[in-house]
């Protein structure tokens, strides 16, 4: 028997799958990946956060204390959305998934990028409810940067705890906003058109996306999350 013989269909085997069935089979893997990452639930939460932002702007919720404090509510919503994206990187399968899934890096990249884009779209739609301090450009910068922090955190400590990085950054930003920070690494405190702040945010997002794409969240087969 030669190798060529093995490529012949076995006697009694059925005909090749039709195109639509092949397409369905091709979509099955991404769908299973999305479900394993609880992306549908994440989309629901992101929609809820967008609604929260819309409500805050529409009914003029604010914190007294000047311009910096005024933007803090929207920043909290953006950070919460970034935390949700970070938590979706948590994978429950570990080694089996890593050993068998050659599409895994692409799926990770696709989900992180798509969720960030969808979140930006939802939040941008939400700011039609009122006037967002610093506008949608700052919204994009803040969301992208803080999502990057969340992804980095997920790669470092685990997807289940990916929310801790964005929350810690939010607390740091809260203090920084009360002063007058000059570092671009605290980009929410910079003007919307500030190049340094935008570069830092993009850099962090690129690093976070790359880390999650290449290595996955830490608990995806490399280390157990604490109880």
């Amino acid at each position: 028997m030669t190798a060529a013989d093995t490529r012949e269909p076995l006697p009694g085997a059925g005909p090749a799958w039709p195109a639509e069935r092949r397409a369905a089979a091709a979509l099955r893997l991404p769908w299973l990946f999305l479900v394993s990452r609880r992306v549908p639930a994440a989309l629901g939460l992101l929609a809820g956060l967008a609604l929260l932002l819309w409500s805050a702007l529409y009914w003029h919720w604010s914190i007294s204390g000047g311009r910096a404090a005024q933007q803090f509510l929207s920043l909290t919503v953006e950070t919460g959305a970034a935390a949700v994206i970070a938590v979706t990187t948590y994978g429950p399968f570990g080694d089996p998934e890593r050993a068998t899934g050659r599409w895994l890096p692409y799926l990770r990249l696709g989900v992180a990028a798509a969720l960030t884009a969808i979140t930006y779209g939802a939040l941008a739609a939400a700011i039609t409810g009122g006037a967002l301090p610093d506008g949608d450009l700052a919204l994009l910068r803040n969301l992208v940067g803080i999502t990057g922090i969340g992804l980095l955190c997920a790669a470092a400590v685990g997807g289940a705890f990916g929310w801790t990085g964005p929350l810690a950054y939010l607390v740091v930003t809260e203090v920084a906003l009360t002063g007058n920070p000059t570092t671009p690494w605290v980009w929410p405190a910079r003007p919307p058109h500030d190049l340094g702040g935008a570069l830092c945010a993009v850099l962090v997002f690129a690093a976070g996306t790359a880390a999650v794409t290449l290595f996955g969240a830490r608990d995806s087969g490399r280390h157990c999350t604490p109880e």
Partner: protein, 509 residues
Amino acid sequence: MTAATQAPARPVRARASRLAPPLSFLRLLRIELRRNAMPWLLPLIAALFWFDSYRPSTGQPPLYVLRTFWNMGQGHTFIDFGPFVAGVAAWMGSRDGRRRTADLVTGTARPRWTAQLATWGATAIWAIGGYLVCTGVMFAVYAHQGVQGQPPWWWVAVGATAVAAFSAAGFAVGVFWPSRFAAPLAAFGGFLALIMSSQTGFHDNTGWALILPTNSNGNFQADSGLLYPWLPDLPIARIMLLAGIAIAALGLLGLRDRGDGPWLRWLAVAVTAAGVAAAGTAVGLVTTARLSADGIVIPALHDAASDRPFSYTPVCGQAAGIPVCVNPAYRRWLPDVTAALGPVFREVAGLPGAPVRATQVAAVYNGGEAGSTGGQAATIGGRPPVLSLAIGALGLPGAFGATATLFADQLQLLAVHAFVGAGAGVGTSAQQAVQAALWQGAGVAFAAQPQVMSTTGLPTFAQAAAPATGPVYAAARRLAALPAAARQAWLATHLAALRSGQLTLAQLP
């Protein structure tokens, strides 16, 4: 029949021993303590605590009431802890649900509620322990730096109870929604609740809003812990609220598990009701609160012994030969005070009603936040006349952006305002003119006076400051232009009429 069935049955334990915390519960607690996620996050929280709670406070003068205003008064210590604790507690609470082991562990000997309380207890022990260690280290550093006054222990207790409440609420979120998103939901929900409570808390200083743990209006001011004790009334009410929330959240867990037997369910109902009652009572109590000279008083919780001022031996200096005495906690500002008052005392020396001594009195609470609202007027009274100054109500150098120059200018303004007899109000036009002339003589130029008067830390009379023009300042310039001897003579003749408010602007030289 096997040997096992022939063995004598183990005697049923007495009811009293069943109610005592059994050894197995303590073993379970020990296992939960070892397998808890909270210690993993404590280093991050400690770093944030240093950055958010300790570091900003070091810019304040070394008085406990000022150092801890940001981190205890405005609640930043538990803003640093609470959301993280809620998130981790939610993660721990959702464990059985996430791992699909709820049915498995329901069949174990220990009731589910008890096992869940052990998990929550371990989380809370780590969280509260971490909070107390961080706060203790911060206070130890303060003490090493020579920070003066009495630490706000009641507010530390409020923070610890808040951490417990966050852990219980977060744990309940995890139990009722066992999802990977329970942790971020609990954490960001807690954070949002805290900053939204600041929205109301920063505005309102009466009624139910006082219960909000980040509300520092009218309840965290000088001279608490310096010249009189911290009043425990409001902290007790907040502890009641936060403990009530924690108890109610834990009681809800017991209502959920139907397999634990009827008496445990009734106990859970009672616990939940007790928690709700405690929280409701706390809210009810603060609606009866009123502002007193030394803080917020809640009649049902107030102990009159808390109103007794501290006794102390003052430290004294000399300003133009006149003794100036302050509380020992304010010793470091005594040179500033004597340097500021010296020029004023030299100007008024020998005039009727000129003070022969200056002394510090306790600052009286007002309805706003420390450092952001009006201060307290100085008075001259007694025989011989004594100038009484509430130094704590002023903008001390370094506090909330105040400088030593501003502190001196404010002290001089208060002294000359008291000398012309304007009292707590703006004073007559003549009094304003003489005040401006004397203040200019002490070293504050006419043009600079309105700017100083618009600064925070001064009483409300200063807020009516107008530009240094118009008839008042024209009269003040004429008076200031007189030779010193002539000005002294005119003042000696007209001071009584000036103080009684009978002198008009036209009667000034």
